[in-house]
Amino acid sequence: MKMKTRQWVPVIILGLISAVLLYLQPYARAPFGSTVLDYTMELIVVLPAVLLLMGLLSLFISNEFISAHLGSESGLKGMAVAFLLGTLPTGPVYMAFPIARTLRDKGARVANVYIFLSAWACIKIPQELVELRFLGLEFMAYRLLFTIIMVAFLSLVVEKIEHAF
């Protein structure tokens, strides 16, 4: 929290740039306003939910439970659990970072935190239905297969590098 005033610098700079651009390009005002409103609403809706979820997670899920199911001894089953955990909720990724941190602090291994975040980003069950509809079963199946293989492999690579330091 020590950088509190410095954290506002990018906001102020972006605000000034936006003000100048909006003054010069009046047609951009309406889409600008609705986009700002959309994201602000998303944040207002999502943020309390994340805080609540993290609170519940830290209260009711014990460290032992997390280490047992997502820790260094959890093996392939742990990776499967991490994939599933990532695909279940829908929400923006910035919502996943605090949750990932809580999982890691509670004893989840680095590989599983990586898998959780990657699954959150690119394997979503509602999103898969859209993919199926627009890109077809063959595309979806191959993409899922390659994604899962790459993510599982890279999670172990990243874990190795993280532990090397």
Binding site: Y94, F97, L117, Y142, V157, E162
Partner: protein
Amino acid sequence: MIGVVTLPLEIKELGGRFAALRNGTSFAAALAISLLMGLVI
């Protein structure tokens, strides 16, 4: 998989090294997956 706008938050929550590794490997993975898709479809 890669988030530039959310990078500051990712660094704050999970550390700079993890964030760099995750985004870097995700980028490589996205390229690899797209090449593989091109091969099979």
